[in-house]
Amino acid sequence: MRRIEVDVNGSRHVRHVDERRLLSDFLRHDLGLRGTKVGCEHGVCGACTVLLDGAAVRSCLLLAVQVDGCRVDTVEGLAGPEGLHPLQEALHRHHGLQCGYCTAGILMTAVEMAGEAGPHSVEEIKQRLSGHICRCTGYAGIVAALSEVVGS
């Protein structure tokens, strides 16, 4: 067990965790932030993607002890008191989610993109999305939503 101190969505958490505990399990089951999903635990599906100090990463491929002293952002932190994040709004408008299981991960990649110098071309958006598996939508609505917010 190790003591870690993490800032998640702006709140500080101090916990003792087992060294082998995956960040995805830590977020979901220790902090109760179950918006982050797990679809493969080997880095391919992208469902578990969160921001680590601003960069999109797979939380299933990080140990919780590795984020000691870091800032983690998850889907729970996106909507503000005024309502949904523009990317969430856009996904809603473009029917960019069906079961919603891939959505949190995709949102975090999109948030990372929104923080970069844009605009992003449709081709770039597709390439960024290629790190996320969505089995429901065929991606068209997602591409349209992201294009609207981070595209040209």
Binding site: C45, I125, Q127, S130, H132, C136, G138, A140
Partner: protein
């Protein structure tokens, strides 16, 4: 692309559909409650700006005349929670305190006798509660029953013999999953290897290892069915096309895997199980039987959200039984969360089919007769609802074509591979790849354009409703109009011309077509075609298809809807909200649709669940019926208050009002309050309490006839796909240049959701066409057991399809709707295979069309 699709949608398709949908649309109007009809709705769609919220929209635009939500692209009510990460998926809920976690020890070999399992080291691990063994499973469970009356001892874990890699052999129960996995590694299993039958061919070869000794053969069922005079037609034919096909194992593998939480209550010998099951609820009875308890003692609860399924989660139930046994054995609630490797390895797979096709044609290109010899590999056991894949399409074996004479042999074969189950389109890809490839080949041999050959054989709209040789009743549709539209949208004649030019430049462009009849709402009776008519006569006749809905209005006028349609992203709550808001005239924000199923609380039938594209046709239909009954109740309460007959009361804009005199009104909230607070004041004959449950079964569905004909589904949609592809002549990579799909799925209840379903199905169809396949070695080891090796398409691999919709309302469903969520999984592999074969001039191609295979085929 979105824009393109909506455009084509709004104009040509609608106009033509309107022009042609004469009979059926009239019958929709007849049923009443359906204001507007096709014509009115198309006009409305042109004027309503659906990018804004519906409620305000309606009020602003049409203060007096109701504008129904049904048919509008209403945005989803499901999204708000899902976008915030507030959905409730199985692994997000902790229904019981003190729940322990399971890890499953699985067979590492495909076929072996279990000669010993040592759990002692596992029991030493701190935090382990116990290990459920094969012996426990044998002692505590019954074999799962099957429609095939064969002595196959299928249990949730192997007993004596393991028959596929990944088959459960023991279950470790521990404080958490990490520890459970530590202990699972310490369970040692001794195997006495047996010979492996890893393919259909090796299972059928002389001297093949027999999987189930008590059966004595790997062929569990073999039926030969003849309709009309196929032999005569083949004698008369000018051309007979013979081809063989293999539709390989693949899986729709959703992003969320299976999850189960089970508790066995000792005092009552009852089980409560939370899991992301999707039905059909026939398998609820199968699970209860295996547990040796009455079905009423197995309470199955699904959480409100499920991370996709596409059929696969129909196979959760063996794990419900397994975890219930573990809970029973160790006296604690047990949770099992499947991981991806487990899912790919051992949960379910689409059914591999080997088909020999013979097609008889006249010289003018009329398809006279079809012979299909179909062998389904169902894996190591036949797990309910299999052999559904083999018979689901039985009514429509000749697809969209008018064929009088059909000969079908249908075999169920076991192999040392994971048991199969439902996968989006089940039965469809297995049928249409052979059928549509055969049509393309025939066109070549007849020197005819494939589109022309299709046209000559499509069931004409004038024949609707059309009864097929095998017993289906195609209820409505104008297939030729869809074909025309698809060809037009694809720029077919230009594409054919450009193809020649490109070829001269060394480019390889191909065009492929697929015409598909898409059935929806299964008639459960089709599975009993696997039995002889004599055997069927001894058993309970089966034609299950019904769905139930409960609707209740609270004292403030809020409406709650409950059903057991177990949605996994299809937007059932949104459509139900549309229906209820329309029928009751209430603000959709007041409608609350509970999507969590609970066999102890919700209405359900054996056919409930989410499969064979049931919702639009029967789920929403049942909501409509239930809401209609509640509306009657409200009208009856309002009538004396308004001083008119109930029949003169209409429910609009949150009020009951006198038709034609909108100012004479009383609010629905007031009526609800009256019903709840003052039952004594209710008019005579009106029940106290504003709640009703309605069940709906669709007409025209009977058990199979004595001559093995069956209307295997309630309603039949149609689609035409046109694919234009380019194959790199050096790397053989396939690029989709254009993909057009034109659907006629009856009345579209929500175009936004319809489009989503089409895109999703197409993505999976294209995955199967180009990437997806489960690969086993000859020892039955699965080589595609991770997402690094099982390749599903991502955003960079998919084209932007052009879509269009005709609406020939179904005369058999309450809302005129048909399913459309599976068609493209049936059409896309065929369309792409036809296009690629055309591009490379190949006679035979196998899906998935990987560059390596295309290189091999071109090189030889």
């Amino acid at each position: 692309m979105r824009r393109g699709s909506v455009r084509s949608y709004g104009l040509h398709a609608s106009v033509k559909a309107r022009a042609r949908a004469s009979g059926p649309s009239a019958s929709v109007e007849d049923r009443g409650g359906d204001r507007g009809g096709t014509l009115g709705r198309w006009r409305r769609r042109g004027t309503v700006d659906y990018r804004r919220m519906m409620v305000t929209e309606r009020r602003a635009e049409a203060p007096t005349r109701p504008v129904g939500l049904l048919g509008q692209p209403v945005r989803r009510v499901e999204d708000a929670a899902l976008l915030r990460g507030e959905g409730w998926f199985i692994d997000d809920i902790d229904p019981l305190p003190n729940t322990y976690h399971a890890a499953i020890v699985r067979s590492s070999v495909a076929h072996a006798r279990l000669s010993g399992t040592d759990i002692s080291a596992a029991l030493e691990v701190d935090g382990v509660v116990g290990v459920l063994t094969s012996d426990d499973v044998a002692a505590l469970s019954q074999p799962f029953p099957s429609v095939l009356d064969v002595p196959v001892d299928y249990r949730p874990a192997a007993v004596d013999v393991v028959r596929y890699v990944g088959e459960p052999v023991a279950v470790v129960v521990a404080r958490d999953r990490y520890i459970a996995e530590d202990a699972a590694e310490r369970v040692t299993v001794d195997y006495e290897p047996l010979a492996v039958a890893a393919t259909v061919e090796s299972a059928l070869a002389p001297g093949a290892p027999v999987l189930h000794e008590a059966v004595g053969s790997n062929t569990l069922s073999d039926r030969h069915l003849r309709y009309g005079d196929p032999d005569g037609a083949f004698t008369r034919a000018d051309l007979v096309v013979r081809k063989s096909f293999r539709v390989p194992r693949s899986t729709c593998t959703p992003v969320e895997c299976f999850g189960v939480v089970c508790h066995w209550q000792k005092s009552t010998s009852s089980v409560v199980a939370w899991c992301n099951f999707q039905g059909p609820f026939t398998t609820h009875a199968v699970a209860a039987h295996a547990l040796g308890i009455p079905a009423s003692r197995l309470r199955l609860i699904t959480p409100p959200d499920s991370g996709g399924s596409f059929g696969t989660k129909s196979s959760v139930y063996p794990y419900v039984v397994l975890m219930a046994l573990a809970s029973r054995r160790f006296g604690v609630p047990v949770r099992w969360t499947e991981d991806r490797v487990e899912h790919l390895l051992a949960s379910s797979s689409a059914t591999e089919r080997v088909t020999e096709v013979e097609a008889a044609f006249s010289s003018e290109g009329r398809l006279l007769a079809l012979r299909l010899d179909m062998i389904d590999d169902v894996g190591a056991y036949v797990r309910a609802p299999e052999p559904a894949t083999l018979y689901r399409m039985h009514g429509c074996l000749a697809g969209a074509y008018d064929v009088a004479d059909v000969d079908a042999r249908a075999r169920v074969v076991v192999t040392n591979r994971c048991p199969t189950g439902l996968n989006r389109g089940f039965g469809g890809p297995q049928l249409y790849l052979p059928l549509e490839r055969t049509m393309a080949a025939a066109a070549g041999m007849l020197g005819m354009d494939p589109a022309e050959l299709a046209r000559r054989n499509l069931v004409p709209s004038s024949s609707m409703p059309y009864t097929t040789a095998t017993g289906a009743v195609y209820d409505s549709g104008d297939y030729e109009a869809c074909l025309d539209e698809a060809l037009r949208l694809a720029g077919y004649s230009d594409a054919r011309r450009d193809q020649g030019t490109a070829r001269a430049e060394g480019r390889r462009i191909g065009i492929g077509l697929a015409c598909v009849v898409e059935p929806s709402v299964s008639n459960m009776g089709y599975i009993t075609l696997s039995q002889t008519p004599e055997a069927r006569a001894q058993a309970l006749p089966k034609s299950g298809n019904a769905e139930g809905v409960t609707i209740a209005m609270g004292p403030h006028g809020g409406v709650t809807v409950r059903f057991t349609t177990t949605p996994q992203g299809q937007g059932h709550a949104t459509v139900a909200t549309q229906v209820v808001a329309d029928v009751l005239g209430v603000d959709p924000a007041l409608v609350d649709v509970r999507t969590d199923a609970d066999t102890a609380a919700n209405p359900w039938t054996v056919s409930s669940g989410n499969y064979s594209s049931r919702f639009a046709a029967i789920g929403a239909g049942a909501v409509h019926v239930a809401a209609g009954r509640l509306a009657e109740q409200l009208r009856a309460i309002a009538a004396p208050l308004l001083g008119v007959e109930a029949s003169a009361v209409e429910l609009v804009g949150g009020a009951a009002r006198v038709a034609g005199e909108p100012s004479r009104r009383v609010s629905i909230r007031r009526l609800a309050g009256a019903a709840h607070w003052d039952p004594a004041g209710l008019p005579p004959g009106v029940d106290a309490g504003l709640a009703t449950t309605a069940y709906l079964a669709l007409p025209g569905l009977d058990p199979p006839s004595a001559d093995d004909r069956i209307n295997s589904s309630a309603t039949y949609g149609f689609l035409v796909d046109v694919a234009v592809v380019e194959v790199d002549p050096e790397t053989f990579a396939v690029k989709i240049l254009r993909y057009v799909t034109v659907h006629d799925a009856g009345r579209i209840l929500n175009p936004l959701l319809a489009e989503g379903q089409v895109h999703g199905a197409l993505a999976q169809g294209l995955g199967a066409a180009l990437l997806e396949r489960h690969v086993y070695d000859d020892q039955g080891q699965l080589l595609t057991a991770s997402f690094l090796d099982y390749l599903v398409p991502t955003a960079t691999e998919l084209p932007e399809p052009v879509t269009a919709y005709f609406e020939s309302p179904s005369p058999v469903t309450p809302l005129g709707a048909k399913g459309l969520g599976e068609g493209n999984t049936m059409s896309a592999p065929a369309a792409i295979a036809n296009a690629v074969a055309d591009a490379l001039g190949l006679e035979d191609v196998e899906v998935p069309l990987t560059p390596g295979r295309l290189w091999s085929a071109s090189a030889s």
